[in-house]
Symmetry: C2
Subunit: 372 residues, 2 copies
Amino acid sequence: MTIRPTVSLRIAQVSPLYESVPPKLYGGTERVVSYITEELVELGHDVTLFASGDSVTSAHLVPCTPKALRLDTGCVDQIAHHFVMLDKVFECVQRDEFDVVHFHIDYFHFPLSRVHGIPHLTTLHGRLDLPDLPPLYRRYSDMPVVSISKAQRKPLPFANWIGNVYHGLPENGLKPGTGEGKYLAFLGRISPEKRVDRAIEIALKSGMKLKIAAKIDRVDREYFETEIKHLLNQPGIEYIGEIREDQKAEFLGNAAAYIFPIDWPEPFGLTVIEAAACGTPTLAFRCGSVPEIVFHGVSGLIVDTVDEGVAHMERLVTMDRAAVRRVFETRFTGSRMAQDYVNLYESIVNAHPAAAQVPAAGATALDTYLSL
Amino acid sequence: MTIRPTVSLRIAQVSPLYESVPPKLYGGTERVVSYITEELVELGHDVTLFASGDSVTSAHLVPCTPKALRLDTGCVDQIAHHFVMLDKVFECVQRDEFDVVHFHIDYFHFPLSRVHGIPHLTTLHGRLDLPDLPPLYRRYSDMPVVSISKAQRKPLPFANWIGNVYHGLPENGLKPGTGEGKYLAFLGRISPEKRVDRAIEIALKSGMKLKIAAKIDRVDREYFETEIKHLLNQPGIEYIGEIREDQKAEFLGNAAAYIFPIDWPEPFGLTVIEAAACGTPTLAFRCGSVPEIVFHGVSGLIVDTVDEGVAHMERLVTMDRAAVRRVFETRFTGSRMAQDYVNLYESIVNAHPAAAQVPAAGATALDTYLSL
């Protein structure tokens, strides 16, 4: 247990520029950056956020592009804007404005962070099982990185993992619901790896209603038309399109259960803890981070097949919703996430040759965090 | 006029990894990198080429990925491989292995090149009229860049242009043809900005045959189906698909004229000088680099409208093919291109604080090159 020092840290948060912080619509990474940033400010730290200019934050905002790139139809070269941001970040670094820099932009800063030798860390938000990444992370195996689940690390065991920090949500955001809508809920995207077809099959076989709230990206349009559309015309299956952030509480809270039938190494799965915040148990397929974020028998059930999901339906929809919510409150709140990161920041600052800001009493060896 | 010093330079060429050097199929940038590299070796310089591992060169090859990324179907994150390459380049830089580093990878190295303060230059191969680029080039306005036409510079007048070097081709590559096929030739891609529809209209109105050798990228498939396909069923219009490098000499050399009816700010237009190497005059629309690479009345004709093109057809197809070839030989050979770059390298090396390799007698102020 680290004793938190009373001094506040000067922390930079460096967000991707694809969505604003928080995003106006979809956008998992930028939403998590927003949660971290606001919680750190709440804890009394001096936080600077590098993000798109339409971001909204209680930290100091350094706008790195006028608006979020994904909504900017004139934008062709998204990476160019990230190189502008890098220059702004390291301009501040050279003026010694931060005790630690927390990057959320994958590897884009690695060459510069290494040259400057600053105290920094990078949360890797995406899937890491791409064949392109091992050569990169072998080359940059000195760069301190943080996983969002232990499963996410598997393809890159040689990266310099300094910790694992599960995502968290504001404790007073999503409120517990009653589940009285008595339907299964599917939330997210229609795409091959999300396997909404499995959700439909389970609902039909177990006689449950299914409500599907999902967007369809352009790349998935053909998949939707050929594989999914005809499945939606069956009794009890309702496709309601994409929903807004402020509609989530009702959609998830009224569901008897959330269904997460994924077929890819999901690095985290934010919707699962959103469901838990609403007291809604999750039926999830064993894949990626699932065994780490669904507590089998408490916050949901983990299965390997459609038939197993059908067989467990009665048990699933009668789970104790208060117990599901408690899993959220004890493990997946934003304040827990922020405190995990503060612990990492302190260990990094104290391990850094130029460390001076944080009292030695608060120092903790990096080793402690390797076992996190 | 710079007097070329007798010492050889240690030069790094840093190529994109999308295609091999030279490319197996399409790929303008990597092909030009190959021409520069081979000509520099021929001139007696010590050249190291950073490129994909399936590249073929007489320089020292540092393979940065096993094979060209565009042909590697497993590749998802192309940029990751370029970050591996950057690390390899700067590892050598730190061992002081090069007098000058010549980048062809846009801005990817700017942050690192600035920190390391090495003698370097970057040839910008692409279109620069994207709204994303001015903020970047204002931030990195100290980075020495080379244009491939003066027209290319227009959107970024504030960049640090140290020279303009037109592309060149090996003098003994494409041989002069006779033009006896008596057709108009169109070569490249079917896409909205290439305006093959204009080529078809001009051919029909002037009673000429037209042969179209072009690939269709996936993104242009719909454009082809809806806008172009039905135009190909007209008398005298022949679509022959994509052709290989070794088929170009015959295709261009047998053509009465090459037609280049572009509708975008083409930064260079390699096919125009390929046609000239074959002695084939070009009918080009006034756009981007065209007035710099087509010598109106000598190597081709420049027009603004389809009707103007039709009106000039008789003059075009009776132009002196030997004169066209002479334009190529005097202005667009690979050896001229390589010598232009050597002049730039020498000025950069001599202007660099640590300059020691090149005798002062060969020194030329950067200013000289600003007017190139």
